[in-house]
Point group: C2
Chain length 139, copies 2
DNA sequence: ATCTAGTTTATAATAATTCTAAACTAGAAA
DNA sequence: TTTCTAGTTTAGAATTATTATAAACTAGAT
C-alpha cells in the first residue's frame, strides 16, 4: 500500500464529514487506519503512541477532540467495558468482545461467532441503535 | 414482610462474606434489598438517596467501600455502559440491558428475552465469567 | 495576499474515584 | 462487664479521566 494514496483517501474522508484535514487529524488517521488488523485503544494509549517518536507533537486535547470527532463521524466505535476509561475500536462493524478481567485486554469476537436467536422488542418510540455482547473472561 | 427478619438475614449474609454487620452496611442493605423490583444505581444516586432523610449520615467513602465490597461478595453486579460512571444492579442474575442513549437510563431485559444460539469458545486457559448484552436504544 | 471560521493548544476546571490516616466500633477474649 | 484489637468509617486530600476556556494558529475560500 502506498501511503500517499491513503493520505488522499483520508483527506476525502475527513472532508466528507466536514472535518478539515489538518496535520494532526491526518497523523491520527494514518496511525489508526494504516493497519490491517483492527485496533483497540484508550485516549491514554493513543496519546502515548502518537507522540512517541513524532517530530510534531499532537496535544492531548486534540487527541480527545479527534477521537470524539471520529467517533461521531463513525470512523471509530466506543466499546462498553466499564471502569472509568473509554475504549475505542477501529473496527466499526457490528461485533463483540472478550474482556479479560485480569489483563484488562479486549479481543474482538467476529460478528459471525455470536448468533442471537431471540432479541427483545425495544420500548415504544425507541429504536435499536446497536447491540453489543461483552463476554467477561478470567483464568 | 417484617423488617427485623430482613435485618437478621442481612446480618447473616454479611457475616457469611466476612463483612461485619455495621450500622452503615445494614442501612445500605435495607435500602438496596428491601424492595421487590431490582434496582439500578450509580454511587452518586445511592449516596443521595441513602442520605436524603436519614438520621445518621453515611459518608461517601463508605458508600464507595460498601458498593465495592457488595460487588465482590456477589450481592451486586456491575453493569457495562461506558461513560465515566459505574452502574450497579441489585439483580445479580444473568440478564441484559437496554441503555437509552437519550435519557441514559437502564432497563433490565430478562434473561429469557435474549437467546444466543452461538457463543464463541474462550481463549485457551480462560473461562467465561459472564456474558452481557447491552442494546443501545434511541428515538 | 487577506480574512475568517474552524482548529489546536496549554492550562484550568470538573467529575468520579481512590487514598490516607485518624477516630471509631464490633465482637472476641479476659 | 471491661479491655483490646482488627476491621470499619470518615473527612479531606490526592489521583485520574475528561471537558472547558480562551488565546494562538491555520485551511482554504475570497
Amino acid at each position: 500500500m502506498i501511503i500517499s494514496d491513503n493520505l488522499k483517501m483520508y483527506v476525502q474522508k475527513l472532508r466528507s464529514s466536514n472535518l478539515r484535514p489538518t496535520k494532526q487529524r491526518l497523523k491520527i488517521c494514518q496511525f489508526l487506519f494504516d493497519r490491517k488488523k483492527t485496533f483497540h485503544f484508550t485516549v491514554e494509549t493513543l496519546n502515548k503512541k502518537i507522540n512517541k517518536n513524532g517530530t510534531t507533537k499532537v496535544s492531548l486535547a486534540t487527541i480527545y477532540n479527534t477521537v470524539e470527532a471520529f467517533t461521531s463521524a463513525g470512523y471509530l466505535k466506543e466499546i462498553l467495558t466499564s471502569k472509568n476509561k473509554s475504549y475505542y475500536d477501529t473496527n466499526i462493524k457490528s461485533h463483540h468482545h472478550f474482556y479479560d478481567e485480569g489483563s484488562k485486554e479486549l479481543t474482538d469476537i467476529h460478528y459471525s461467532q455470536i448468533k442471537l436467536s431471540k432479541v427483545p422488542v425495544p420500548p415504544k418510540g425507541k429504536k435499536i441503535k446497536n447491540l453489543e455482547v461483552v463476554i467477561r473472561i478470567q483464568k
